[in-house]
């Protein structure tokens, strides 16, 4: 590829070979004048047609591809709402000046933005506009026959010739039989045999591009018909797949809630193990959720792991996170139990230091018999560290030395205030803190089995010996996966066909020479990157010599350098001999056949 090459148009194969090299692929022809003109004289339909031809040209497809990759970049650098809402909030808080600009540019939702969608939609319109005519063209090529031999076979990239005693007709017959046997599409065209092979390349290329469309459709389908929700389940509890049971739920616009797969499951137990020692101490080793699920009445036991979701019909249940749920009992001043249960707490670090809230909504009366609500903010560590300090933290994720610290409040939890409330947080604006007589003044640290007595006969809270674990699951239902996978496999297969199969043409001409012997000429033409073309031609020629055995040359001074002048009708345009150019120099492709140690 020379520099001059890049500024001129492609040297199309047909520059030297006429019709013989035409349509060796179905790539759209570059109508260069088109780009230059497009003047006002075109009229509306003219403009439309011009625009369409631009859009479906290789050059625009290329530019759109480049744009697509460029457009994908900001989404990896700016936090995305779809991935992590919290991070977006943090970013917005940290960059007050950038935020409005980014919001205008839809940088927080790049892959759903107008401009990103525009790029890929244009690309796909271009793709369709490209595939349809290419398919017709290809069908035409399949129905037609390989083009006849060009006049000057010796100008083609690979060429061989010899004289044979066999008659021209005989030689052509033999060539036709040979080429057909080698699975070429071959036919007689005048004094020559024309053959072509490697149509699968085009099939591969077209099916690759069609597969891309199939994949896009599958993705769009998936987005529209998708549902996805999260649910935190404490050991022993269950979940059934209805909308009200979800902690959070998202679905595509065409998804109806009665499309939810009917099933339920219970979390029997959760097991997490961690590296006990070494520099990676605390790194998780296994996470397993043992569940019993039922669909249509039949119970099945199974284990859900991080990489192994539970599949129920169209739905998949993924294990997403886990944590601890200490069991606590709250009693009022008279010793009556007003709350008993496992309280799931949310991990805030890798060693599962967890926080959360315990809310006693009703049933509690203070020592005067007045109805009141209780709230406790909880800090829990599975393996305690921080003795003698104001704060405690966990130093290992397993339950080696669990400690629960509670701060109690009484008053109004404001759960009925109309505002959505986070179950893991306490709104203390209408509550009063219990004054507890401990060293730190606020929270009391408890070991399992210990009880914290609330002041003034307000009751007590017990940290039971039992500590449950919880697991959170994502339940998603997605359609279109099968289609996407089919598309993906077709894409890879098509691509391989497109890149590994060579489409090439071979011509064999046999005519009677001046001296009465038959001159056989063979030539091959492929796309520019054809490495094996000369080898294949040599192979074919060798095979053909079985039926058309070479005879002696008419005596010549230098057989190496002198071109064959086999008669004007065969090679009328004999090129000048060039002795500086060794005949066997692999001009087309030295790289793969050159010797490593040369």
């Amino acid at each position: 590829m020379s520099k001059t090459d890049t500024t001129q148009s492609t040297p199309a194969p047909d520059e030297t070979t006429g019709a013989a090299g035409a349509e060796l692929s179905t790539a759209p022809r570059e109508d260069r004048e088109d780009t230059a003109v497009g003047g006002p004289s075109l009229g509306f339909t003219g403009w439309l047609r011009w625009f369409w031809r631009q859009l479906t040209s290789m050059r625009i497809a290329l530019l759109l591809l480049l744009l697509l990759s460029l457009g994908a970049v900001p989404g990896s650098l700016v936090p995305q709402t779809s991935a992590d809402e919290m991070k977006v909030q943090d970013f917005k808080a940290a960059h007050p000046t950038l935020t409005p600009i980014y919001e205008k540019l839809q940088f927080f939702d790049v892959y759903g933005s107008v401009w990103f969608s525009a790029i890929y939609l244009l690309l796909f319109v271009s793709l369709i506009g490209c595939i349809v005519p290419r398919t017709w063209q290809f069908v035409g090529q399949l129905r037609g026959r390989p083009p006849g031999a060009p006049r000057h076979l010796d100008r083609l990239p690979a060429y061989a010739t010899w004289r044979t005693s066999a008659g021209p007709e005989e030689a052509r017959e033999a060539a036709l039989a040979l080429l057909r046997k080698r699975r070429f599409r071959a036919h007689r065209a005048g004094d020559a045999v024309a053959a072509e092979k490697g149509y699968l390349r085009e099939v591969g290329n077209l099916s690759f591009h069609i597969a891309l469309i199939v994949m896009l459709v599958a993705f769009a389908w998936g987005v529209l018909f998708k549902s996805e929700g999260g649910k935190l389940v404490v050991e022993g509890d269950g979940f059934s797949n209805t909308l009200t049971q979800y902690d959070d739920f998202k679905s595509g616009s065409w998804f109806g809630t009665d499309d939810l797969e009917p099933f339920s499951f219970t979390l029997d137990s959760f097991t997490g193990t961690y590296e006990k020692s070494g520099p990676q101490r605390g790194t998780p080793r296994t996470f397993e959720a043992a569940v019993t699920y039922s669909r249509g009445g039949e119970d099945t036991k199974t284990v859900v792991r991080v990489n192994e979701p539970l599949k129920v019909g169209d739905s998949k249940v993924y294990l997403i996170a886990h944590g601890y749920a200490p069991v606590v009992t709250v009693r009022d001043g008279r010793g009556k139990t007003v709350f008993h249960g496992a309280v799931p707490l949310l991990p805030i670090d890798n060693n599962i230091t967890s926080t959360g809230a315990i809310k006693v909504m009703d049933g509690y009366r203070d020592k005067n018999g007045k109805k009141e609500q209780l709230g406790f903010s909880a800090l829990f560590v599975p393996t305690f560290a921080g003795a003698g300090q104001g704060t405690m933290f966990s130093q290992f994720p397993a339950l080696d030395f669990p400690v629960l610290a509670l701060t109690g409040y009484h008053g109004d939890l404001r759960v009925n205030s109309g505002l959505p409330q986070n179950v893991y947080q306490l709104d203390t604006s209408k509550m009063t803190q219990f004054k507890i007589d401990t060293g730190t003044g606020v929270a009391q640290r408890m070991r399992p089995g210990e009880t914290m007595t609330l002041p003034d006969g307000a009751g007590s809270i017990t940290f039971e010996k039992e500590i449950k674990e919880w697991a959170s699951f994502q339940i998603s239902q997605q359609s279109g996966n099968g289609l996407a996978l089919t598309g993906a496999i077709a894409a890879i297969a098509g691509l391989s066909g497109s890149l590994f199969i060579q489409r090439r043409r071979v011509w064999v001409r046999a005519v009677r020479g001046e001296d009465g012997t038959t001159v056989v000429e063979m030539a091959g033409l492929g796309r520019s990157e054809s490495a094996r073309l000369p080898e294949e031609l040599a192979d074919l020629a060798a095979a053909l010599t079985a039926q058309a055995p070479p005879t002696a040359e008419p005596p010549r001074a230098d057989p190496e350098a002198v071109p064959d002048t086999a008669g004007p009708e065969a090679v009328p345009d004999t090129p000048a001999p060039d002795t500086t150019h060794p005949a066997d120099a692999p001009a087309e492709d030295p790289a793969p056949s050159g010797e490593a140690d040369k």
Binding site: D5, A27, R59, L62, L65, P550, P563, A596
Partner: protein, 360 residues
Amino acid sequence: MILAATTDESLARMSDLLIYSSMAVYTLAFFAHIAEWVLGSRSKVGRTAAALTPRAAAPAAAVTVRVEQGGSTAVLDKPKVVTRTAAGARDVPDGPGAAGGTVKGDLYGRIAVSLTVLAFLVEASGVVTRALSVQRAPWGNMYEFSTTFSTVAVGSYLGFLLAKKNVRWLGLPLVTTVLLDLGLATTWLKTPSDQLVPALDSYWLWIHVSTAIFCGAVFYLGAVATLLYLFRDSYENKLATGGNPGAFARSVLERLPAAASLDKFSYRVNAAIFPLWTFTIIAGAIWAGDAWGRYWGWDAKEVWSFITWVGYAAYLHARATAGWKGRKAAYIALIAFACFLFNYYGVNIFVSSKHSYAGV
């Protein structure tokens, strides 16, 4: 259990030792390559300016089949095939290689290749012992990824040599970057050998990561060829337009293969590996579907794999598009490879991603 742990420890230490030893051998190979280039530069053999003058659309010298004259003992040669380059392409022969045709240079070149083979074997054993010490695929973190990556890159290069491809010119740049890569791996990216976090513990790790490493290694060879193509192409252009390249540039570039050969090599390599790269991304998506409950979430790593993929698709398109062949296509290929590299280093280090749990 304790016994097993100690065996692992010693295997891990052995692996470290092997990696360091391979670095030492690569360093020797590096110097041998330097010697080859230096000695080759002193030679004028095989380097004539005339060899670089375009052969102006060389006409096909027809070669006919020779037979023993009047022979009952006729030896039939295969008909010889004459090849010619497409119209418009510059027809320049390949350079003689780093040794420049000198015997001594060639000797050093051979020594360099032998040392590279040795270093490769040592490094590969290092990777294997690492795998044995952790009893899993050695691709759990960036240290392991880097060591495997350079092993595979060198392995592919040696594979090309074994297949008698003309790739010895890759030797010096490859060994240099392998040393850099190993240097980075053993200092900044060093992670003690250990088990995997549960999310990585899947047979998709074998499939997805191994193909990703292999693709990266081969794309790397393609990128080196592309870069050299750009240099050599400017050099040939300069000569063709009567310019006079600097002495150093001339000495180095004239020994490289012709621009057309380099271009073809990089195209073949990139095109051949592109379907596998497509597969890698799809396998990753399937794995993500199992691990995280969504096939594609535009996570940073996914985004950059996608960008790399589109980049290489653009490169393949550029080569079929008028006005984009040659240098422009080569720039796209280099950008695509830069995206691959960024995905590997940049995303793990600078961008927070769901994928960056693997101890850097």
